[in-house]
Symmetry: C2
Subunit: 212 residues, 2 copies
């Protein structure tokens, strides 16, 4: 990848998984080739937006001939880093942590849940699928011993920053945070948040301002 | 609300729940007043961004005196529609649906989970907290009888569109969709998506392009 990639906006980056999802659907339907116009229709983007987005990564289309679905899918898999495996842990083994542990689609995409951690003695020792819930006290040694690169934080908000601090000290590369709090992490650690309440409250705003 | 609100961008709207969250934290810490400069520091926005955002809704600050935390919090609660109650149902009572049913914070914010629906006979009849899992066949009558305004879709992607169609026919006002698919709903129905995979894949992209 060249330096130009530095300029790729987060808006474009956040659309890549959407391309990935649509191309995967097309592949499953055995569609071999698609024009940017057709792709734009099903994705709800403009054809020019799609061409611009993909040009950030070198294009891939042939004028007047459209995109090779499988080739484009594989390119985007690679760009997203989905051609690799990531060892992950889930910190906080409550309902949300368990839901994520049970979500086999993440595993199929290469995000391997290696262990779960909690402080609740009632949870420690249980298994979700074949993922054991371990004592949070042993998190640091586990991360080091198992080459964990991504930590998924599913704790209450009060614990989330201290969990993040511990993950950072263990040289974790990325944090996927579900706690409703903005975490402070050093710049070299990638932090991605899922703030469910913010999504629900946006829905609520839109419900209340429909007729304006 | 006047017509000017039509122009409020989604970017501003999506920041409102964040203001709400930070102001709530300040209230819990018993902080009565905050300058836009201080608020900008803790929120990671610029002070001028904050003033601009809040000006969309009439301002609320006094020059040189800052914001009254409680008053601003209550204003934003109202703008977000969090001063009301919403009867909701969860469709799909698997792990994710159960996690959401267990998430009492949504209930505290006024989103009351009235029932859950599934097609799996092993789940039908079970209770999550005091929320019963019902047969999806009875969804329509339940929605009408219980004044349900929001449907939360936690089904696999294959079922999501047909569930959405059924919700729309029952005059549901809003859909909070967790299925990894873009749903087609009429314009008057508010659709808010949580695409967890897209968030995870964005993290993966950023992990793989850290050094560019």
């Amino acid at each position: 990848m060249d330096k130009d990639n530095m300029k790729i906006s987060m808006a474009v980056i956040r659309r890549l998984p959407k391309y990935h999802r649509y191309l995967k659907d097309l592949l499953e339907k055995d569609i071999k080739r698609i024009s940017s116009k057709e792709l734009s229709k099903i994705m709800g983007l403009t054809a020019s937006q799609i061409r611009q987005d993909l040009n950030n990564f070198g294009g891939f289309g042939q004028q007047g001939y459209g995109y090779n679905v499988e080739a484009l899918f594989e390119e985007i898999e690679g760009i997203l880093g989905l051609d690799k495996h990531y060892n992950t842990i889930i910190v906080g083994a409550g309902n949300l942590g368990q839901a994520i542990a049970n979500y086999t689609n993440f595993e199929k995409a290469g995000f391997l849940p290696k262990g779960m951690f909690d402080i609740n003695p009632k949870l420690i020792g249980l298994k979700i699928r074949d993922i054991q819930i371990l004592d949070a006290d042993h998190m640091e040694e586990y991360i080091k011993a198992n080459g964990i690169t991504i930590g998924i934080i599913c704790t209450p908000k009060e614990q989330a920053q201290s969990v993040a601090d511990r993950l950072v000290k263990c040289n974790i590369q990325g944090i996927w945070n579900f706690a409703p709090v903005d975490l402070n992490v050093p710049e070299h650690v990638i932090l991605e948040n899922v703030h469910l309440s913010e999504s629900l409250f946006t829905l609520s705003y839109l419900l209340n301002h429909r007729d304006e």
